[in-house]
Amino acid sequence: MKAFTYERARTPAEAASAAARIPGAKFIAGGTNLLDLMKLQIETPTHLIDVNGLALDKVEPTAEGGLRIGALVRNTDLAANRRVRRDYGLLTRALVAGASPQLRNKATTAGNLLQRTRCPYFYDTAQPCNKRMPGSGCAALGGLSRQHAVVGASEACIAVHPSDMAVAMRALDAMVETVNLDGKKRHIPIADFHRLPGDTPHIETNLAKGELITGVTLPKPVGGMHIYHKVRDRASYAFALVSVAAIIQKDGTGRVALGGVAPKPWRVEAAEEQMSKGAKAVTVELLAGAHPTQANAFKLPLVERTLGAVMAEARA
């Protein structure tokens, strides 16, 4: 771990301003991912801006009938929130499928969106990784890739985004609320929040320098059956091989987002028009252009079968 300086921010704008001003600055909230990465010198911030005191820890109704989730709401509290459980069950189910109770007690809503990939080459500083060290190459291509992306990846990076929560938020059409150094607010649709790797896998979101997430807004509830099905080798405390977040209405229409298959929560709205034709038809559109490795080609049939099970569960 490199030596770093530390400050406690008093307002979101002040935090954003400090982050924009100080080279190598980073925000820290729960720290469940950042501290590990700092110990391994994968992240080497020179300055930490602690945002835990910013009073962004409330879940409140919006005027539009939706819900505003403060950036600092802990995963445990969000999952247990009565409104979330009643109207956005998908989110609760995704949250409790992730990490462990101890981690969920610390991890925040914004931090979860910003967590880095679990690609083992990203985690080994002796190995090339374009995400960690731009231009050094991708060791996962041609290496160990069972967990990696089958769609949306590039020649530069095949890492997956590890979040469960973000997959549910993608299906729920969440908006990420931010503030910049001038104190100006912005709303970014979750679909546009994470970037695909292309040639710049080290740039993972569309946040501007210093821009701070202050909350996530969920639109008015859409009803339907909320199912989050996470597939993994062990029963708990493992990242998804594949996950399916689905909201399915009585008439069979609905929304589907996938985790574990792409560098970002994966949703293709056009695929949802195929819902009445069954899991295969939806999967074909969802995973159009998929480019799996030999080791992760199983994810394609696995998505279809998992989605099939989810649709069957919704019918039952």
């Binding site: 110990k39 985690y123 190995q127 069972r146 099905h229 993994r232 080798d233 062990r234 029963a235 696995l302």
Partner: protein
């Protein structure tokens, strides 16, 4: 004490203390965080410096240059040791690769430097500033590719002969009406113990004291002396508490060597723990195997030919994984062969992990037996019983000392509800889950190792046992205390046990499930000596004296035990040594594992629902700690079956998933229900304790039982561990 005749009645048979389900006497220290582990000996060394090991970033090649300048000038740095300035180092008898690499690099994450600094963070930071220029060389990292050039290993006392042949295997196999010829693979596995390797070293002139985490104090003691090139008398090595080992701490490792070298260079005590990402490639692992099994049988199910071949890899000078050993002993059959070959690989050193040999061997053999049973149309339990043997199948004049495999199988079947198993796969459902049952025989040899102890009696009547035996979470402290209490006729709270110190008599140590039986037998021998000294002191004929209730009794005379030490402490020291009973009798432990699994019909996710082990392993010294050993082993078996896999990057030559997030072992949710039954057995041929090993038996066969249950649930046969959903998907029934 030479043990060369079967044990007769002795004080242990009273079972007033031995055989009772006593709580672990170290349990309260561990659960309250007061058991001091090597890295936390603040009591002994209040202000150590911190060492951080730099591991090689290549798998094979040479260090062209190593630039320490920036690291040396980093804040807090006291010293940096590399092969260039470490002086001449030897190599321990139990090490294959050097523990300090350079200029040659033998494997990934081989230690090439240790940075000593005032704080852990400073040492770690400085280690990142060392610039190493490597000349990479092409290495061999693929066992399958290395099979053809694999060589016949030397026979050793542990591994046995590389080849065995009895009767006419080929002829009998060719002639058999029912036969199987299959290939099975098991992956490299990591010990993944909770406490990483850690050591604290303190020099006092030319003498060094090392607090470490070692299963085998005497091996570590001798090997650190040999590595540092100093006399053994100048080293004291202590390992009283160990946070798990599973074979990964049998040997001297880089933490101890680098702590000693760092402390010498810094002229100050230094402690070193391996960071988790270094543990997997820096230390040893269970090597992968490729196994071929051929079984021929008559239509009556009697095996006429059985052959087992195994290939594993290792660094030059390394030994094979002895995966064929159990096949020489487990089932009858007049015509038999086994063979082991070892391929030279440039991966980290392969070595023992819990039940070396039998664990991966049974992973293959017990699937093969399930497959044969299916071919024969026999119940897999009946197939095993038909081929049971009471004698060593290679040497029929050599009986097993005890062999109650059939009883384990039958009792387990009844208890588990085996009769409810549908022999046709893929038939039983619970909602979206496909259910299946599987079983396997458990087998692990009982190893006899010389083991010593010293037992002292003081004027307060307190018994103190001293031996370099270790407690790796197994319960050694407790069963040794129970043994001494039984022998000396005192309650458990009058016994103190001091373990894991090279200043104490050399014991068997902890490994190969030989620790419990041998170390308590050594304590038994020492107690016999102390009883003689006490009797003599009190004027009793030692043969007549009975030790009970804190007193010594003979005829109508009695005297308090403490009285014998009234004018000075008494002690007895001895070791147990074994005659040729192990030659005349085959000594092994037996059991049966039963598993029920559920397989998600859509995703092919596999979840174990319940497990049962029935074990016949001699006298159970403490049913509570023995059960803990077996359920821990069963849990490990589920890991081996379903998830554990050190994934090799075959281009770069290392285990890529080198942390506990990516090297998965079972979590609580994976293990919903476990049950263990011990047969009431004593084995007087094994030792005066009449006990045998049990800690590894609980692992042997579990993975195959899981794989067989998955087959029963789905009809998909996976012969390539771990059994993961991607290996099932293509053959899973299509869902509606």
């Amino acid at each position: 004490m030479l043990f060369d005749k079967p044990a007769t009645t002795n004080p242990i048979d009273q079972l007033k203390v031995v055989g009772q389900p006593t709580d672990r006497i170290d349990g309260k220290y561990k659960t309250t965080g007061t058991a001091p582990y090597a890295y936390e000996r603040h009591d002994a060394v209040p202000d150590p410096a911190y060492g951080y090991i730099l591991g090689a970033a290549i798998a094979k090649g040479r260090i062209k240059s190593i630039d320490l300048k920036d690291a040396q000038h980093a804040p807090g740095v006291i010293a940096i040791v590399t092969a260039e300035n470490a002086g001449k180092l030897g190599k321990g008898a139990h090490n294959t690769a050097k523990l300090l690499g350079g200029p040659e690099v033998d494997h990934y994450h081989q230690a090439i430097a240790v940075v000593v600094a005032e704080s852990f963070e400073e040492a770690r930071d400085a280690a990142h500033l060392i610039r190493v220029d490597y000349a990479r060389e092409k290495g061999a990292f693929d066992l399958a590719a290395g099979m053809e050039k694999a060589v016949k290993p030397e026979a050793t006392p542990v591994s046995g002969p590389p080849d065995t042949s009895i009767g006419d295997f080929q002829g009998a196999f060719d002639a058999a009406p029912v036969k199987l010829d299959q290939k099975y693979t098991t992956p490299d596995q990591g010990h993944a113990m909770m406490e990483p390797h850690a050591s604290l070293a303190k020099w006092d002139g030319d003498k060094v004291t090392i607090w470490t985490s070692s299963q085998m104090v005497a091996w570590g003691h001798a090997d650190i002396a040999a590595t540092l090139g100093i006399p053994k008398e100048n080293v004291r090595l202590m390992s009283p508490y160990i946070g798990g080992g599973f074979g990964g701490k049998l040997f001297l490792r880089a933490d101890a060597v680098m702590a000693a070298l760092g402390a010498k260079a810094a002229n100050r005590p230094v402690k070193v723990a391996l960071p988790r990402p270094l543990v997997f490639n820096n230390t040893t692992h269970r090597p992968a195997t490729i196994q071929r099994i051929r079984i021929g049988a008559g239509r009556d199910g009697k095996i006429t030919a059985i052959g087992h071949e195994s290939w594993s890899g290792n660094l030059p000078g390394g030994e094979p994984e002895t995966a064929v050993g159990q096949t020489r002993l487990l089932y009858a059959g007049a015509n038999r062969m086994t063979a082991m070959r070892v391929a030279m690989l440039d991966l980290p050193e392969g070595n023992a992990m819990r039940a070396p040999g039998e664990a991966p061997g049974l992973m293959a053999l017990e699937i093969a037996m399930d497959e044969m049973a299916a071919k024969l149309g026999m119940d897999p339990i009946e197939f095993r019983i038909v081929n049971d043997t009471q004698v060593d199948p290679e040497k029929p004049d050599r009986p097993f000392s005890q062999r109650r495999l059939t009883e384990c199988l039958r009792l387990g079947a009844t208890h588990f509800g085996w009769d409810k198993r549908n022999a046709t796969p893929g038939q039983v459902r619970d909602g979206r889950w496909l259910l299946g049952m599987g079983m396997a025989a458990a087998f692990r040899n009982n190893l006899l190792v010389k083991s010593g102890a010293r037992v002292r009696l003081d004027g307060q009547g307190i018994i103190t046992v001293e031996t370099d035996m270790t407690d790796i979470g197994t319960g050694s402290y407790t069963i040794i205390a129970q043994t001494a209490a039984e022998m000396m006729g005192v309650p458990l709270d009058r016994v103190r046990v001091r373990l894991g110190d090279s200043a104490f008599p050399v014991s068997a140590g902890s490994g190969g499930q030989f620790g419990a039986n041998n170390s308590t037998s050594g304590v038994y021998a020492a107690c016999v000596k102390l009883r003689e000294a006490v009797a003599q002191k009190l004027g009793f004929n030692s043969g007549d004296a009975a030790f009970a209730d804190g007193a010594v009794h003979a005829g109508n005379r009695s005297a308090p035990l403490a009285q014998a030490a009234a004018d000075g402490e008494l002690q007895g020291e001895d070791s147990i040594q074994y005659g040729d009973l192990a030659k005349k009798f085959q000594q092994s432990t037996f059991g049966a594992h039963f598993i029920e699994v559920a397989v998600d019909s859509a995703t092919a996710e596999i979840r174990v629902r319940r497990m049962l082990a029935v074990c016949a392993a001699g006298r159970v010294l403490n049913p509570k700690s023995a059960r803990s050993q077996v359920i821990g082993a069963m849990t490990m078996g589920v890991g081996g079956a379903l998830m554990e896999d050190l994934a090799i990057d075959r281009r770069l030559g290392f285990f890529v998933n080198h942390d506990l997030a990516s090297y998965e072992v079972p979590v609580h949710a994976d293990i919903p229900h476990l049950e263990v039954i011990f047969l009431d057995e004593i084995d007087p041929i094994s030792s005066p304790m009449k006990a045998k090993g049990i800690g590894e038996l609980g692992l042997c066969g579990v993975a195959a039982a899981v794989a067989n249950a998955v087959y029963n649930a789905t009809g998909v046969r996976v012969r390539d561990y771990p059994v993961t959903l991607d290996k099932l998907l293509a053959q899973m029934p299509q869902e509606a």
